[in-house]
Symmetry: C2
Subunit: 418 residues, 2 copies
């Protein structure tokens, strides 16, 4: 079989299994996820043997220590993954929920019922635990899933998918509800992205380069975010102490992630009081500052920010700082340079808070909390399958519910069109 | 300027205007739509002059009478369009609605607020009244819009857009909230479909060929439906009289539309009683029947249905008829041959109704009403901007709300990530 035929075959099997996944009783889905968690713990040694081969091959290829770390299925990672599956098992099941129902003048009742999307394709990079997480989230929402992991993790991914299939089978469920592409060849992704009749949604998880590759080549809808250039705006009515705390937490608590702060905007009326204190705390946290002229006039030690800095997603201990004349100027800056991810305002002023909430159309708009709070777990979505900064279907962190859609249901008594 | 530059220029202007559209007070949007309605009535003669030139050119090209009819802005069509604008003006404004809000253990409140999508591209064919309808729906939801109508209607579309812009201007609103592509060249569509950074959603309205062309060439998400192969399943516990009434209404009330019935499925236990009566009524309505062997054994006058008939969207007074052994067989037939548009069951049996509602995942699933009821107006969405048979973002008839998304809003008191 050619590569194209192999991909088509797997997609067809998964598509056929999706009908079965869609009507699985919630108790069965829950049982499968709990049993898979138990199996991950039980078969830990076997999993780690497969994983060790992946790690060895990766080391031979001279892959970075950070990537080796992400690739490794340590006892701790396996336990976290198993616990994560149990959490997902315990979520409310979204399928079948009637989210609204109303009655029409002719007596016909019309409602919207939550249903699975069908087949979801997840394209991801090195973490093998995503195989279990993403597969579980898709199943919980009644979907079938085609996984395509990174080549470095292929043995580990295959081992986890085998356990998944074993658990499905033991529960009398079609094994093709969860499939892994048999090859990590990039051409296999290209073939997969053409199968719009068989796959309903593609979610790429990984670096910007992978996501752009997927988006550029897909005939299937893609939910994606490229980067997070997040802003914190310190309003003239900000609580100074809170502003410093939120700035440092947003920037330094974990600088390498997409909801970390990249540009600090400060109202001119508070800049002289706020910036020196903030600069001290940021400095103590090891953060390098790059400021506009206004900011550097207050804190001389700042480096000069260039136009590129306003667009930059540093993912590092670097922060761009700009003094603005008004909240409108802050909102305009965000509209021009932002990435629609997460923006936060620090203020005690009611009108400023309302204006910021209304006029900033990023996927998360926050008043008086750190940008780092923008997260599926923190928001209480239970788990995060991804994050979307495009507005179609989902916008912001995506939970299980975002893997569903609603159909219209109509309960009639013989109504016809006049 | 090259065509590509012209399209880019219009898209950029529209994108810039979208920020203004997003925060327009609801009273202003309502006023604009009411004034536009008044203007359509007032300037009826001028509009009809422009329209007459389109009609004359179309006649010279030898275009069909049906298309000339769709193209013509009669007094009646103009009055309907104006009344439609007033209806849209009176809808609840979806923008700013907080659809849910909850509190996290750390005291942080998290909610989802409805916001506009941004810029919507509508690509449509000959009806010039779509220019007013679609523009109004987009504006109501706080979006800016780029319209691309058919070449036969270009003068009429331009005249309507000019009135729209005049009304916007009189209300101090950026005219670029509503734009029409200056040319109906197909290449202009191709350029438009590449502008994923400037346009958020594309809605093609027209024949399958246009929709496939758009879907195949777009880098922007497309909401679409290709066809409606709708089914009515007469269960063994159906009320016979209701079943006949719903069958005839679903098929014959307006056979040329996508929610008209195309295949009738009949449970074997009721077929001998139902089919002769149904065949009489359908015959009286001028419907040609094409049956499976089982159906033809009961009504010999039916033509033979071939495999192609089960896939057919006749859009005509023709109906495929199949006798099935069970509700499961009916559901499987729908899953195999259906188009995910609308399916209806006629039954008095509680379990059959529930099973059908649960297991059929078409965008509209109906119990005891005609397939023709699947419609935005009939469902009470107020108006219909389109219909989606792909599950991403929207599924089924789309109203104003489907032209919005939700962002997360967070109301904090200094919460940070631990």
């Amino acid at each position: 079989m050619s590569l194209e035929e192999q991909v088509l075959r797997i997609a067809t099997l998964t598509h056929d299994a999706a009908r079965e996944a869609a009507i699985l009783p919630m108790s069965v889905k829950e049982k499968i996820l709990r049993e898979l968690a138990a199996k991950l713990r039980e078969k830990r040694r076997e999993l780690q043997q497969q994983n060790a081969e992946d790690v060895r091959a990766a080391k031979d290829k001279g892959i970075s220590a950070a990537m080796i770390d992400r690739l490794t299925l340590s006892d701790k990672v396996i336990e976290q993954t198993a616990a994560g599956l149990e959490e997902i098992a315990a979520f409310p099941d979204p399928v079948g929920e009637v989210v609204r129902m109303w009655t029409r003048p002719n007596g016909m009742r019309v409602g919207r019922m939550r249903i699975p999307l069908g087949v979801i394709g997840i394209i991801y990079e090195s973490r093998p635990n995503v195989t279990a997480d993403a597969g579980a989230l898709c199943l919980k929402a009644g979907n079938a899933v085609i996984l395509r992991g990174g080549s470095e993790a292929h043995r580990s991914n295959q081992a986890i998918v085998n356990l998944f299939k074993e658990t499905l089978k033991e529960n009398g469920v079609n094994e093709d509800v969860v499939n892994l592409l048999p090859t990590t060849d990039r051409d296999a992704i290209l073939h997969m992205l053409k199968l719009e009749e068989l796959i309903d949604l593609i979610i790429p998880r990984g670096g910007e380069e992978l996501i752009r590759f997927v988006a550029a080549n897909s005939r299937i809808p893609v939910i994606k975010h490229y980067k997070g250039v997040c802003h914190l705006y310190v309003d003239k009515e900000a609580d100074l102490e809170m502003a410093v705390k939120l700035t440092v937490n947003s920037k330094a608590q974990r600088p390498g992630v997409c909801n970390a702060l990249e540009t600090l905007l400060v109202h001119k009326d508070i800049a002289a009081r706020f910036l020196p204190v903030a600069a001290d705390s940021l400095g103590a946290a090891g953060v390098e500052l790059r400021g506009c002229d206004g900011a550097r006039a207050i804190v001389n030690s700042m480096k000069v920010a260039t136009e590129d800095d306003w667009y930059a997603e540093y993912l590092d201990l670097i922060l761009a700082v700009k003094v603005v004349d008004s909240i409108d100027a802050a909102i305009s800056h965000i509209a021009k340079y932002g990435s629609l991810h997460t923006e936060s305002i620090v203020t005690r002023d009611y009108e400023a808070a309302q204006k910021f909430l209304k006029e900033v159309n990023s996927s998360s708009v926050i008043v008086n909390a750190a940008t780092r709070m923008s997260d599926g777990y923190v928001y209480g979505l239970g788990a995060e399958i991804g994050i979307s900064t495009t507005k179609i279907h989902s916008y912001g962190p995506m939970g299980v519910e975002d893997l569903t859609t609603t159909k219209f249901i109509v309960l009639g008594e013989g109504q016809i069109r006049e």
